[in-house]
Symmetry: C2
DNA sequence: TAGATTGTTAATCGATTAACAATC
DNA sequence: TAGATTGTTAATCGATTAACAATC
């Protein structure tokens, strides 16, 4: 809550904050509104209203007695808490279908993320542009990260290449990896890895489709 | 545990089971082994060993005294529990980068999922093939699902089209939707929706990259 | 047998929900 | 003022971890 000590928000809280943010963005885009109650958000997202108030409290956003919460203030609070207001740059390694999808996605800027370059080992792709990003050789990956102080690497290579890529970007100094390859990466403790394994979703779906 | 009453596994358990399965598949592919201890799996996946034993117990897989668990038996148990042994068919709606990535992914068969057709509204794409799948018109979506008894629809359209697509596949009778579009779908209660919003991952990453 | 590992019960931990006085 | 909504404390719930007798 305070500005000095770090309240250390958990993963659950962060993900809920993102859901609030998306909901409020969508809602106000459709029909501008000034304030919103915790009960309203709770009903829309199937979350307990007390939870919503607690989450807002955790990021220092306070409501108004009989009225609810100021939408703008909430959104600004979430942006600051999640760090959307502090833009950061990333590179994408692997320009297959998935890499291309990410490179083409226009929504990242909203969250402070700017993808500045792509890397691929295929000679034919080097020098081309994918979604406004230049595709560079794997050899230039490490120097590029160093030179530009890139903090996030997005890995969309096949599983077989992922660990090698991870080793390189880590030694070049990134602080986080967004891993879309279906493999478990081994990295030093100080590097944060977010896995986006599609198979986790599949496990739940397959289970639900059983008969 | 028993075969009659449904033990109803929670989402957490299902996802852990999938992680065990992937780990054991990868490990045995590299070097075949007969048995494995809960402590070994636990260390590799950063999960408590007791948790591993409980999860195995929940799907009816028992270990052996001083030895550990039979790898084959564990894998078979997980396949049955998650339903990988009961193949099901799906369609992909939207053949952009992301849809193409999914259509090209060869790993789904391992999990019992077979993608049999793709659908797109772009005239130029209809009639072509993406990753061995025929691309069909949106008009043929509903009859196709009905005719083949498709139970899962994978939505990779832009957000603007997603709800319309969802309405159609629901009225055609699917039991589940795998939603990759960045929007919240409204569906009847009996339809299971798994959201794969990329923004959730971003929230955690952005927070970790703050400085 | 001795020792490592299991299966299970008990204890802990954290997250979610309920209750309610304080507030506008 | 009356009434709706907040902020916060207490209670509940579930999930994770610890402990340990049973087992091979």
């Amino acid at each position: 809550v305070s500005t000095d000590g770090k309240p250390r928000l958990g993963r659950r809280v962060l993900e809920r904050l993102m859901r609030y943010y998306r909901f409020l963005s969508e809602t106000t885009a459709r029909k501008p509104l000034e304030s919103v109650t915790s009960a309203h958000i709770a009903a829309a997202l199937d979350i307990d209203a007390t939870q919503v108030r607690k989450d807002f409290g955790a990021i220092g956003v306070l409501g108004m007695g009989r009225v609810g919460f100021d939408v703008c203030e909430v959104c600004r609070g979430i942006r600051v808490a999640l760090g959307f207001d502090q833009p950061y740059q990333a590179v994408v390694v692997g320009t297959g279908h998935l890499g291309s999808a990410l490179l083409a996605y226009p929504g990242f800027a909203t969250y402070g993320l700017e993808i500045v370059a792509a890397f691929d080992k295929a000679k034919g792709k080097i020098g081309t542009t994918v979604g406004r990003c230049p595709v560079k050789s794997m050899r230039s990956l490490k120097p590029f990260i160093r030179k530009h102080g890139i903090r996030l690497a997005i890995i969309t290579t096949p599983a077989s290449a992922a660990q090698t890529v991870a080793d390189r970007v880590v030694s070049a100094g990134v602080s986080a990896i967004w891993n879309f390859s279906p493999t478990q990466l081994v990295v030093p403790r100080h590097v944060y890895v977010r896995n986006e394994h599609i198979s986790l979703g599949l496990s739940v779906l397959a289970y639900h489709l059983k008969r």
